[in-house]
Amino acid sequence: MSSTMSRRRALLKIVGAGGAITGGAVTSTAAEEHPAHPVAPPDAVSMFYDNTICTGCKACMVACSEANGLPPDTSLGEGLWHTPLDLDSKTKNIIKLYQEPGGEGFAYVKRQCMHCLDPACVTGCPFGALKKNQWGAVTWESSLCIGCRYCEVACPFDVPKFQWDKWNPKIVKCEFCFDQRLKQNQQPACTAVCPTGAVIFGKRSDLLAQAKERITASPGKYFENRVYGEHEAGGTQVLYLSSVAFEKIGLPKLGSTSVGHYATKVTSVIYKWLSAPIVAAVLLGSIIKRNWNRHEAERPERERQTGLRDQL
């Protein structure tokens, strides 16, 4: 009797420990819930770009490549000039020019990672190679990345790039100069070098207020009198003011709900404590066990009749 009791107790202990481990694994991240409209933490840093100030000098592109040790993309520049067409595996930051068809109007846009408040890439990344780091910078850790490229599928801004031409490929995207500069109490290379102040660095709350002040100061100057990035995809840590429509300069029209919220609102309930799989296992298991027992009870008679062993 005592031996069976101790065995039972031991079993319970094992099950309890296993449950704690799996539960821990599940809830450690499930605790970071995905509200539909995430609120920026007070220490969230930001980049604020106003394309009415940008002169398209591309100093930020050079500074970015220098700070991140990126090779120039010379595929179009006769082997001499850094002339990327878009963000690519050699370009984390780019200034692009939009020209109104047939018209005089034009506008610049600076593209780089938006550092979403609730990034879809981080939600999808299987081993957490991409993570929301200190101050909200979205960074990439090479030792955790298996190269599945789910981040590229998930990102609504088409930002992460993959080194298709490398045997040891990396995910290339703006990381807010996290290791290179933020950690040393320096602002990112692009904002530091910008000669006109078209892109500036600061706390997200401060920069958002500043952007709204500019809108109030000159109503009608900016498209829709609103800040792109305040609410897009749940809000981003890069903010934009533009003289032309955001879609025209390549900033996609997105809802205000975080993509991570949309993708996990059902599964986070189903997989909480692995509840649905456990319920399914118990339910299916009990039915299967009943049917199995009947199968086994009928087996000797069946084997005797046919003279053949039962097949599974």
Binding site: A25, P126, C145, C148, V153, P169, Y262, A281, L308
Partner: protein, 434 residues
């Protein structure tokens, strides 16, 4: 047990147990052809080990997933869901007569999953970091990709493999030495004791990862056309796996029996057709219920490119759903084969389209698989075909009746006295070596 012949048709033959294909050469020109394709694919896979993904595939930053993921894994494992669909019908919903076709489902399902996982292994860019899977505290538990990365290999390598073990052991039992026999007889009861628990896992795990394959696409948000992008994607992917699983087992049984001149049991096949029809209806009910819920019904009938594609895909599922309600259609091998093929095609379309045709990344970009990429995709499929062709000859996979089984063993005895006809009759041949 099922010894009642109601139709009196000459086609009716009561499937009672798996019987190996015998009196057929193992190596045929067709087999060699597929083996060559598989070999080419595997050689290219070896080259891929030393080559970056770029020149090898047509993938790019806008279409970061190519056919290895979207077709070999996300689409073809639906066809490989026979063990889930037929298994649940047999063991959970107690459709007893389906037990006899389980082995066909199991071996084909295993081959689809195994080749899909091989495809995945060569698709990821940094496979050496996959060992992180062993450290659960590094798991991002909310990632559908993680769920698939854990669940799919575990299912294929442990649960599905275990389900396939009995047919391999059975061969050892009939071909092995007395010591092997005694060993197997001693161990069989222990395996049997595990069996109900293993098959429970073998149904829970694919319920999880087949839905997660649809769950993957949720994060792609509005890159996927609203006819396909819905919070119901996981459920619809799972239901598509169910209908593809039932459809493909039906299709495969008919094709294999045709190829190896095996008599059909239309009672069993009719039951599969019946379940397939309901699976199609269930899928369509959820799909259209969801369209109505999201107010996208008008989009479905807008008759533009995407709407026509959607309606075509729906028709591929609706036609077999309706047609298979007729008993005549279900027990006519030709029409059953056609309807099963249509249902499979519809299910495959549903699983493939949101990842490719209905997937519109932010930038203008095109993706078409590069030649080596395509050859690898074809190679994996050919590998599965070779595996199945060998399995039906070496193991008791395809269903037949007991007379068939006994006749095969009658053939064994003469060949024991006169060896030399090896390779023609697998089991008798191997028995003769004893």
């Amino acid at each position: 047990m099922s010894a009642h012949d109601t139709t009196g048709s000459t086609l009716v033959n009561h499937w009672q147990r798996g019987v190996p294909v015998y009196l057929e050469p193992v190596v045929t020109p067709t087999l060699l052809f597929f083996a060559a394709l598989a070999g080419l694919g595997l050689v290219l896979a070896m080259v891929r080990l030393f080559s970056p993904l770029g020149p090898f595939s047509g993938m790019n930053d806008a279409y970061a997933w190519g056919v290895w993921k979207t077709f070999n894994v996300m689409t073809l494992t639906a066809l490989g869901s026979g063990p889930l669909a037929v298994g649940m019908a047999a063991w959970v919903f107690n459709r007893q007569k389906l037990h006899v076709v389980m082995r066909t489902a199991l071996i084909s399902g295993f081959l689809f999953y195994a080749t899909g996982l091989v495809a995945l292994g060569f698709d990821v860019g940094r496979p050496w970091n996959f060992w992180n899977i062993l450290l659960p505290w590094r798991w991002n538990a909310e990632s559908a990709m993680l769920e698939i990365a854990v669940c799919m290999p575990l299912y294929c390598a442990v649960f599905l493999a275990f389900e396939n073990v009995p047919m391999v052991l059975e061969r050892f039992y009939y071909t092995g030495s007395d010591a092997t026999k005694a060993f197997l007889v001693r161990w069989a009861p222990r395996l049997r004791r595990l069996y109900p628990f293993v098959i429970t896992g073998a149904y829970v795990l694919p319920l999880m990862h087949q839905s997660s394959l649809g769950g993957l696409l949720l994060l792609a948000g509005n890159k996927i056309h609203p006819l396909w992008q819905t919070p119901f994607l996981p459920l619809l992917y799972l239901l598509a796996a169910g209908l593809c699983g039932l459809g493909f087992v039906t299709f495969l049984l008919l094709m294999a029996c045709l190829r190896y001149s095996r008599a059909l049991d239309l009672d069993v096949l009719g039951e599969l057709g019946n379940l397939l029809s309901w699976a199609c209806f269930l899928f369509l009910a959820v799909q259209f219920g969801d369209l109505i819920r999201r107010g996208q019904l008008r989009t479905a009938f807008a008759l533009d490119k995407m709407s026509l594609l959607f309606l075509f895909e729906t028709a591929l599922i609706l036609v077999p759903a309706v047609a298979l309600r007729s008993r005549t259609v279900r027990v006519t091998p030709r029409s059953l084969l056609n309807m099963a093929a249509l249902a499979c095609l519809g299910g495959l379309f549903y699983r493939f389209v949101p990842t490719t045709i209905a997937y519109a990344p932010a930038r203008n970009a095109v993706y078409f698989p590069a030649l080596p990429e395509l050859l690898m995709t074809v190679g994996y499929i050919a590998l599965g075909i070779v595996g199945f062709a060998l399995a039906v000859k070496y193991f008791a996979v395809l269903p037949g009746d007991i007379a068939d089984w006994n006749y095969m063993f009658k053939l064994v005895r003469p060949s024991r006295q006169a060896p030399g006809s090896e390779g023609e009759t697998p089991w008798p041949a191997s028995l003769s070596t004893r």
